[in-house]
Amino acid sequence: MDLNLTAEERQFCDDLRAWLEVNVPKDWGEWREKPIEVSFPYLRAWQRKLHEGGWAAVSWPKQYGGRGASLMQEAVFWEEMARAEAPPMANALGLGLIGPTIIAYGTEEQKKRFVAKILSAEEIWCQGFSEPNAGSDLASLQTEARLDGDEYVVNGQKVWTSYGWVGDWCELVVRTDANAPKHKGLTVLLVDMKSPGFEVRPLRQMTGESEFNELFFRDVRVPVKNVLGSVNDGWNVAVSTLMYERGSFGARLHLLFKRNINRLIELSRTFQRNGHPAAQDPVMRQKLAQCYAEIEIMRLNQLRAFSRITGTGVPGPEGSIQKIFWSELNQRVQQVAQELLGPYGQLLSGDSHAIDKGIWSYGYLRSRGNTIEAGTSEVQRNIIGHFVLGLPRSY
């Protein structure tokens, strides 16, 4: 056990810090609050710049444009990005989830075709996984792909697709064998979203925005060469993508949470509760300290998981504890923010009395989605129960 940076990690960190110092755009503050539809070209340009510097996907193998960075270096990467107040990258799903899946399962031709353009943000990727009738029971999905010559013909519907509105390509899970058991008849297709019959509609969520989309497929034709992995082995390919989602995503979230708790502590020094600053209120102190400590434990769980993964190379089902931990923790932190701010907590962005431009009312509502998206807490507990603890399947 040694949590100090190794010489190699220190070098990596120094190089990155030096690069960020020169290259992080100075005007990000002016763009941060704008709707993502407006700032998206800005984020694309920023990702291109990172890519040119060799920093877009540090954990990818060198031959595919990464740096072959260890998970620990990746953790350092996100910490430094946050420290430098760098903007996020446009192609988040392509870089974090889909690129690694293509590298793991793709043919040489597919890797050559797709990987470079994921890195440069020339092609934005999204995931077509959930359906209206296949959420937690993802393997029951019904969007079908019928073989017709050297093409699949896709019909069906997907929902809760992030970046659908700006996507160029989609990692789509479809049913290719309706007669096989549900996990054995799925295939992953890489689908050009400009194909005829492919329609994207916005989905308005409880916060009022449309982060997600619905995707509709009417006789969308996909060449057979765009099958990722083997036909009818799509479940394994999709699960691999989901594990990247559950495992390393938490590393980035930690920094956001840290910023939130630091801001709440700062607010507590001036915000009044019962006639004195909230920071002097014994109950608020308890709650803030609890959040602070749990955010630290989230980081430590992540580091321990990274150390374990370093041995095996892929994230395992233990990643499910990170997903449960961060999502439920964020809900607790947002609740404490509401208690701290009292009636001000409810004020929306745009109200002149709103604290921090309404981020706390937004955060409170948005956090309800955390325990649902990327696998509900219930599904995560099933995964731990069955795959980690070896209990019999519950469903």
Partner: protein
Amino acid sequence: MQFGLSESQQMLKDNARKFFAGECPMNEVRRLMETDTTYDAALWAKMTEQGYTGIIFPEEYGGVGLGKVELILLMEEAGRALLPGPFFSTVALAGAVIDSVAVPEQKKKYLAPICSGEARSTVAFLEASASWDPTDARIAVANGRLTGEKVFVPDAAVANFMIVVARGGVFAVDARAPGISIKPMAGMDLTRKLYSVRFNNTTAERLGNAAGLARGLDVVTAALVAEMVGGMQRTLDMTVEYAKMRKQFGKPIGSFQAVQHQCADMYLETESARSAAYYAAWALEENAPDAAVAVSTAKMYASDACRAVGNRGIQIHGGMGFTWESDLHLYYRRAKASETMFGDATFHRERIARLVIDLGTVSAKSA
């Protein structure tokens, strides 16, 4: 950066697990808990032979000279075995306090017999006020003589000498010195006996400089958290095993989500407490600026989590979990005692609030 165990650390942990399983299985734990003190001289001699009594103490005093992480791993396995007797009191408690406050001659005098297995010890800390803040100590030494009462002193009856946290200093007292009277307190934990200790004009030796006490107590607290993690792990293992084996409605109860999800929560709580305990040990070893926050984070989390894990474990065992025959309640009793020892979650949240909100101590980043 590597948050896993090194090969030698893993070996120490594996060996400790085997040692405790072989030398102190549950039937032995049950035998010892029925004795007055739970101390067993033969077991103590074997632990000394393993180097456990000197694990973190410098080699010049006969110790093994290992670090805080190694101590934590050993304590985790001791907790898993529900080890009875004065090991925690002697090594992790008295030993760590002596190591942090005493001058070299005193360390030689007090640590050497601990390392060699000749002496047992403990720390007399709490008074009637039950405050874990050492500055609240009222008992005092005048002209080298100590008078007053300490309560909740673990394993006092088998201590050869005691370390007393008093007003204005830390003192060592010979347990057979005139004026000492030791009376058992009937605590819930049957495997770690508690005592009230009255001192009446008892000779006391001032140990070095009390300025090191806070750090010493942080080592004690981290070791206690590790012991709690071991108990949580054992409770989880027993519960998962039972949920696989016990059938109702024609199926193992572990196949029902109401049961399975509680097991998943026990796993999450155990692993999270372990992450916090390991980090606290490492931060202490490295003298990291956030070591005190890390220790309080670990004790805060573990204090709540060990209770939650015990609650869930008993519930999942159903009627079986409520029997005397089941070992669960023995762990549950230890968990309750450990929850308040050296500060419950509320105490440590307030300490974190002081360090983070009032003093602005920032948690150290990895870079």
